[in-house]
Symmetry: D3
Subunit: 218 residues, 6 copies
Amino acid sequence: MPKRILVINPNSTQSVTDQMSEAVESMRLPGGPQIRCETLHEGPPGVETQAQVDASTGLMLAWLARRPDLEASEAIIIGCFSDPGLFALREIYRQPVLGIGESGFNTASAIAERFASIAIVDGSLLRHRRKIRALGFEHRYCGGLAVGLGVTELADRERTFARLESVGQRLRDELGAQAIVLGCAGFSPYRAKLEDSLGVTVIDPTQAAVALALGRVV
Amino acid sequence: MPKRILVINPNSTQSVTDQMSEAVESMRLPGGPQIRCETLHEGPPGVETQAQVDASTGLMLAWLARRPDLEASEAIIIGCFSDPGLFALREIYRQPVLGIGESGFNTASAIAERFASIAIVDGSLLRHRRKIRALGFEHRYCGGLAVGLGVTELADRERTFARLESVGQRLRDELGAQAIVLGCAGFSPYRAKLEDSLGVTVIDPTQAAVALALGRVV
Amino acid sequence: MPKRILVINPNSTQSVTDQMSEAVESMRLPGGPQIRCETLHEGPPGVETQAQVDASTGLMLAWLARRPDLEASEAIIIGCFSDPGLFALREIYRQPVLGIGESGFNTASAIAERFASIAIVDGSLLRHRRKIRALGFEHRYCGGLAVGLGVTELADRERTFARLESVGQRLRDELGAQAIVLGCAGFSPYRAKLEDSLGVTVIDPTQAAVALALGRVV
Amino acid sequence: MPKRILVINPNSTQSVTDQMSEAVESMRLPGGPQIRCETLHEGPPGVETQAQVDASTGLMLAWLARRPDLEASEAIIIGCFSDPGLFALREIYRQPVLGIGESGFNTASAIAERFASIAIVDGSLLRHRRKIRALGFEHRYCGGLAVGLGVTELADRERTFARLESVGQRLRDELGAQAIVLGCAGFSPYRAKLEDSLGVTVIDPTQAAVALALGRVV
Amino acid sequence: MPKRILVINPNSTQSVTDQMSEAVESMRLPGGPQIRCETLHEGPPGVETQAQVDASTGLMLAWLARRPDLEASEAIIIGCFSDPGLFALREIYRQPVLGIGESGFNTASAIAERFASIAIVDGSLLRHRRKIRALGFEHRYCGGLAVGLGVTELADRERTFARLESVGQRLRDELGAQAIVLGCAGFSPYRAKLEDSLGVTVIDPTQAAVALALGRVV
Amino acid sequence: MPKRILVINPNSTQSVTDQMSEAVESMRLPGGPQIRCETLHEGPPGVETQAQVDASTGLMLAWLARRPDLEASEAIIIGCFSDPGLFALREIYRQPVLGIGESGFNTASAIAERFASIAIVDGSLLRHRRKIRALGFEHRYCGGLAVGLGVTELADRERTFARLESVGQRLRDELGAQAIVLGCAGFSPYRAKLEDSLGVTVIDPTQAAVALALGRVV
């Protein structure tokens, strides 16, 4: 029976789950681990505030308890850049539990000496810094920038890419970033194109976490 | 055409290359990236001294120049825990270049808050600390211990495992390690059994690096 | 109208709330701020696991929403050493929000160069370290020790004090601690006596947080 | 007999002592600790140079020796942002000895994740950084700015406030400070108004130190 | 017999060796240690890439093995700011082995609280930061700037000095550097004049290393 | 006229000054800088408490003002491991001002990756740690040990050496120190013998400071 990697999207927006699933599609291979991306329908449409981050823990635990098949996965990935419930799930489950936020930054650390991140809104950058401090990357993190677009504007893909490109250029040229972590699962469709445009490594956090999990379920 | 992940063993000992290849066997899947483990026959039997670490750079670069097919791999992994040539190759190649040492520690960082490492001999632990400082993990690294066995003794697998188990227990119980990085490619056959015995995550650095590379060649 | 300092005990054990209230009794003065210690009856008997820590946020927010009189307090203190909900409440409320855990360590930092902490059980020490890293005190924190007593044993006050004394001596003599933070609101009755016995500063975290709040509501 | 908190102004300018006393007036309560602010008449008009900082130690010790009533206070606060004599007094006295500089930053640390400071002149900012390094807050300190006004200009309160407001805005908006520590006892009259104007926590260091002391003399 | 301090210029450009020798001329004194600056003729004209840095180790070791008289020197200095072979030589030789890069920064640390560096080209600044991280000076290093001149332009001494002066002013005024380390042996002729012009300490790394060696061969 | 390096012994014990002078005797060379070691007769017999450290500043400044010939020295060294007055003198004098404590540790940093220190009494080790934190060497400092001998016992040179040897062995073997800094000017007569015995670098702080100064007065 194949090993199972579970990616939980703690928000209720199915299209985000679909994007994550699409991002890791090429890692699903015959004979390899099963990679399931699941939506936490009880979650909020987006996990944006710290209160929503904290509330995700209970929602995920209750959901996992109802889904013993998923709970038994050989690796569990929390599919939100804020890594809600990471420490709680690690206390409970023996299998590896990864957050896509931490995974993104640790992957950047394995690829480059100095790296940066992009958020949707400025308010998230404080949380990026908190995670950077918790991991120990203060001296290698160049900083973060937000695209600063609202929900409607994010739907305009050309505009979103243009903004990603312009903040990415600043991170690369002004702050010296050699790798850039996308601070939102929703940026995954732009990853490859952005990497081509900027000429520096661009990391999708879901891909990063699933890859790390692949190394844990060998 | 499949993406190619190249693992260079910078020492000339084919059995080490074979062990690395065996360790990542389950990550070779139909339709997935090709994972090639190659021996640098010009290298020393083991990369043990810092002089050998430094000399590896030139040997690897000359070898890669003669092997354009391998040089064109979409990801290059340096298969020695000392990560010889890491910064040099990164200056030259545009594709991701990973060291198994850095990959091992970054993977530990993505799985656990506090981690430790095991070396073959005490002398290597200074290099482990140097890498830990370079990465930024000083406050999360619990320390390292060596099995302290000579080449002949390492051939005795029962004895080697017993020693790994006893230093692993000390790292877990006395230093509080939640994950342990094996500081040598040659320890890979013991990984799963050691993890079972200790009940904490045990990381083989080659598996860690190949997994990270899988996330980069999507 | 006097300023109001609210201390929320996020566990449902009234005796813990009473102990906290008793610990800050001498800070309640005529004409000074009102200091109210309130029990979150919806909470668990003790906030012990990280899942309970995370769940506390929602419980506290719902409770505060039902108690506009308390919600309007000029300072809010989270009365649990794990500081549940700290970042969430700070995002929502404009008044100062303090956690007793952070307050205990910051007070130690204002009194002494090197300090340590005491927990009830070993498992909490990892959370102490996480907080120390988040605050930046890695180089001044000498370490922590647990009294290692079960609930029944903790009811035996002589035994509890004897254990606090013995771990306190080790923190002072072996690790060089000049101040010791009590890592649990329930240790407050022993603070003064332990300080006398050890001859180093012993900090009750609830007192520390209320004092810091007194400086914020002037 | 009430507990006594002694605040020593190590400079000879009585109006500064008066301002400090005024700043902590609301913390003087019936039945509570006595809070005495005393002027070191032997001191210089202002403690500005490092030589004056160092000389303060001897002056304070001699003065305390002549004033056994004050020397016996249950807490001693050094009322100068450079914390002169802090380590010397701690070696000599068993009661808590606090510096208003350290107290200001530790209080900021208990209130906010990222904080900044304001000095009178640029030259003091190096000393702020030195204190930040000694405390361990390098990664949470956003930086400092000076109002850059001379003695005469400081007498113009409107101008001083305007300058505090403008540097405070830069610390908040450009550096992301969530709390600002006033790096001079003389800024205390502006604290409340500045906090209202900026919408972030503004900390008067004397209030911070006295509050911390209140928690130590319970 | 006098003690011998050996400075190895790992590049083959004799004029660089001559400049280094000239820079330490005043430290050659009757009865004092002999200071020999030697050119590694097998080296590249300049050690610029990381591959050249790594290759220097083997070249230096082979050369030293052929020159037992030099190999027996009481102190060995690696005369390239990238400190090639530093750790390798330390493993092999019992006498002190110093790199001029590390020596420059450690000397700055002994003279000033905050310091900066100047490179020839931007690409070197990443290596400066790597060294700063390895040494532990992250919080005292203000940053680095490059003069950004090509080989031909560097031959124009007036232009080079003007550029050094302008980047030095920025390091002093914008970043607050109290000392500046010249990140290239070739800048030594400008040191004294630049120090006079800027009014802050300017450190030539070769002089720094030789001075440190003088203290080791007493 | 030769450049002048002034070493101030801030304690009044002439024999300590003589020892320092003896330690740097071999650095006095014809045509080289003059190295004068002077006793501050107004100082205490030993600078032991922090109050004495702080008081040294004023005593040294007054003394220098009375000795314009010495005050004009091209480099000033404070000959006490606690570096009294270091920041004060740097504010006043334009020439380099070095402390032997900082110089000892910075020299260790230029020679070895991990280093330790030896004090006379345990109480000084807290000050060693404070200096280590101020410099940034927390991750490279292995720790310190005291010989723990009283004044009379220190007069017994065999006993003192035996104790230095035994603590030095522990620093080397248990803590992994590759270099050891002698935390007292009075240990200088043992330096060479101790280095021979231990086989690791042993640094006399006065020699370290004078060597650094030699590099500054070229």
